[in-house]
């Protein structure tokens, strides 16, 4: 039996290594994904272009404009002179934000009169607009502190916020766990379902069935190489995240790898389940993309927070394995917790895996129909 298993695994590796498409998905995709998420898809801003409509044109307003740029987040695009120019920069896509400074800015500011600064942001991209407005607010506060030394109203409540585990709100802290979850899913679930569907399509499954091989061995032989490769990939992404994007791994590495392994098994079980119901590779591909990739990307809390979704989608999100795996990853990597803090998520993943395996086993056909 061991010999048969080895022969099977060897054969599967030949398939993988001789198929450029599979190789590309296996090794190109994780790299591309992490680099895209790392460098392109980000909510952090450097040198966001802003226009300033300066009615005051006094010393303080100049200092304020300098102060805004000092953080590195903003860069002055244009000084405007009339209100009618305000939209032009945004329409042309040159600037993200317009700040209007009122007349008598300097006098009002130092005499303690209420000063209002108008911030106009491009709402067509709400996430970015929000972030930019927050940045401006921070800069305004720090400007006040610096210049006036005293607060205008001693009775006001000051909010001093601190972002634990990710003080600078680096988006890599979010996308590295998310990417691991996605990549493992793609490789394990999608490629497994594809490779089993391929045997059906090419007719080789017919021959495998008419052989003394037990179904369990056929499945194990097919999924083991993918398990090994995807586990390697998970480690690769972790290393990239840690050394290129400075994502910390606070918790135990052993626990982290164990959790990756658990999720690999979950994804393999899902892939096998999909393959038992799909007859062709295309069928398997569609099912994995629509049934796994989409929900895992959108409903797992990876890109959009689950809590702000309609209740129905939240429920769907709760049956997506990636939701729990991302939770686990963040807990172990960023918060450094031990197994006892993630028991709930682990238990759910284990339960899901058992159910998937059970159905995959039940649905695997010993015959053609």
């Amino acid at each position: 039996m061991i010999k048969v298993f080895q022969a099977f695994v060897k054969k599967e590796f030949y398939h993988i290594l001789r198929d450029k498409r599979t190789l590309l998905i296996l090794f190109g995709m994780p790299l591309a994904q992490i680099l895209i998420f790392g460098y392109a898809v980000t909510n952090e801003f450097n040198d966001a272009q802003i226009d300033v409509l300066d009615y005051a044109k006094d010393e303080t307003s100049m200092q304020f404009i300098d102060h805004l740029q000092s953080s590195g987040n903003f860069q002055l695009n244009k000084i405007l002179y009339t209100e009618t120019q305000m939209e032009a920069g945004m329409k042309a896509g040159d600037s993200k934000l317009v700040i209007a400074i009122p007349e008598n800015f300097s006098a009002d500011f130092y005499s303690g009169q209420p000063v209002k600064i108008q911030v106009v942001a491009d709402g067509s991209d709400p996430n970015n607009a929000n972030t930019l407005v927050q940045y401006v607010t921070q800069m305004v506060n720090s400007f006040q502190m610096e210049r006036r030394k005293v607060l205008p109203n001693p009775y006001r409540i000051n909010v001093e916020s601190r972002m634990m585990y990710n003080p600078q709100l680096v988006s890599a802290y979010n996308f590295v766990p998310g990417t691991i979850a996605l990549i493992l899913l793609i490789i394990c679930a999608m490629l497994t379902s594809l490779t089993i569907a391929r045997e059906k399509e090419s007719g080789t499954m017919e021959i495998l069935l008419v052989s003394p091989l037990p179904p369990l061995l056929i499945i194990l032989g097919k999924v083991t190489p993918y398990a090994i490769l995807s586990f390697t990939n998970a480690i690769l992404v972790l290393l990239l995240g840690h050394f290129v994007f400075d994502v910390p791994i606070v918790g135990s590495i052993g626990l982290l790898l164990l959790m990756c392994f658990l999720y690999v098994v979950t994804a393999l079980a899902l892939g096998t389940l999909i393959s038992t119901v799909s007859k062709t590779q295309q069928d398997a591909m569609m099912r994995s993309l629509m049934g796994l990739m989409m929900p895992s990307m959108i409903l797992s809390g990876f890109i959009f927070p689950l809590t702000s979704m309609p209740i129905l989608l939240q429920y769907i999100g709760q049956i997506v394995p990636a939701t729990y795996f991302i939770e686990i990853l963040k807990a172990v990597m960023l918060r450094g917790v031990g197994l006892n803090f993630i028991l709930y998520e682990v238990a759910i993943l284990v339960a899901m895996t058992t159910v998937f395996l059970f159905f995959a086993w039940r649905k695997f056909k010993i015959r053609l129909e």
Binding site: R18, T204, E206, V210, L213, R367, L368
Partner: protein, 307 residues
């Protein structure tokens, strides 16, 4: 002991009947041919015997084991070559063979004598990927893979379809040599000329068996007068013959028209009759019946069967 026994096997796909109450027996060491056109139900029959499909009705056994209850025993004892090439195209000849040897719990060395005659022909290409082999080579490799575990019964579903004439001949010579090793072979083919190479054949059409016998006996039993008519005006000749009172059947057959008649005539009588209505005839001769004539005679519909 019978290698294969079928009793009233029926199979439907939805509303389409693939097999209608098929029964026959096949002996050990026999080459049994299933002869019939595409869609006759041959592949379905193979899949039922190879334990890949379950029949709706009837019972079948292979090598003494019931195809439903004892499918696991059967899977150890049969070699199955599906209708289309079903090996790993991205694995080399050698890798394919050694993989199939391993999953059947054996090695190439152990049963080399069984496949030797066939394998020596593809051995020069053993490092070539199976997908890059010619049609004939592919079928030889597939046969090797189906044989490597020394099966008692061999199921070959249209092994020579899409294979050149020379390779077809070689393939059948291999089957003859396997028969001597006491392996029962159930083989299907749409080529009528291959029927004569089987010990016994079943003519099958639309899921029904028309006749089972040895090909020689079938030909001997064919008592109807048969004439081969050669003319350049095939269409008008066919039309006329089909309306003639003496005709039982008239069918195009290669460059000839094969005509069976109710009573016996001389070739000259038929030639005269055709020329009398103005159809120029090159030649009329009495012909020895072939399996195709028998098949066409038995099949109710007068459709053209590829020869």
């Amino acid at each position: 002991m019978a290698a294969v026994v079928l009793e009233n096997i029926s199979k439907k796909y939805g509303n389409v009947t693939a097999l209608k109450s098929i029964s026959f027996q096949m002996d050990d060491g026999e080459i049994f041919g299933l002869i019939g056109p595409d869609g006759a139900g041959k592949s379905t029959l193979f899949r039922i015997l190879a334990t890949l499909l379950q029949a709706d009705e009837g019972r079948a056994s292979v090598a003494g084991h019931d195809v439903v209850k004892e499918y696991k025993q059967i899977r150890k004892k049969v070699g199955y070559m599906p209708g289309r090439f079903s090996l790993y195209q991205d694995l080399s000849v050698e890798e394919n063979l050694s993989f199939f040897a391993t999953i059947f719990g054996t090695t190439i060395q152990e049963n080399y004598d069984l496949v030797k005659d066939i394998y020596v022909q593809i051995e020069p290409f053993k490092r070539r990927l199976a997908g890059q082999l010619s049609g004939g080579m592919k079928q030889k490799l597939a046969l090797c893979c189906a044989l490597i575990h020394k099966p008692e019964v061999l199921f070959l579903d249209e092994p020579t379809t899409g294979v050149d004439a020379v390779s077809r001949k070689e393939f059948w010579e291999m089957l003859q040599s396997l028969k001597e090793k006491n392996i029962a072979i159930l083989v299907s083919t749409p080529y009528m000329d291959e029927a004569g190479l089987c010990d016994r054949i079943a003519l099958i059409q639309n899921g029904e068996i028309l006749k089972i016998d040895s090909p020689r006996q079938m030909i001997r039993d064919f008592k109807k007068p048969l004439y081969a008519i050669k003319t350049e005006h095939t269409y008008s000749a066919l039309n006329y013959l089909r309306s003639a009172s003496y005709t039982r059947s008239a069918l195009p057959f290669g460059e000839f028209i094969h005509l069976t008649t109710a009573k016996s005539y001389t070739p000259f009588q038929i030639k005269d009759d055709l020329e009398r209505v103005g159809i120029p005839i090159q030649e009329v001769k009495t012909a020895a019946p072939s399996i195709e004539d028998i098949f066409l005679d038995l099949s109710e519909t007068n459709e053209l069967i590829d020869g």
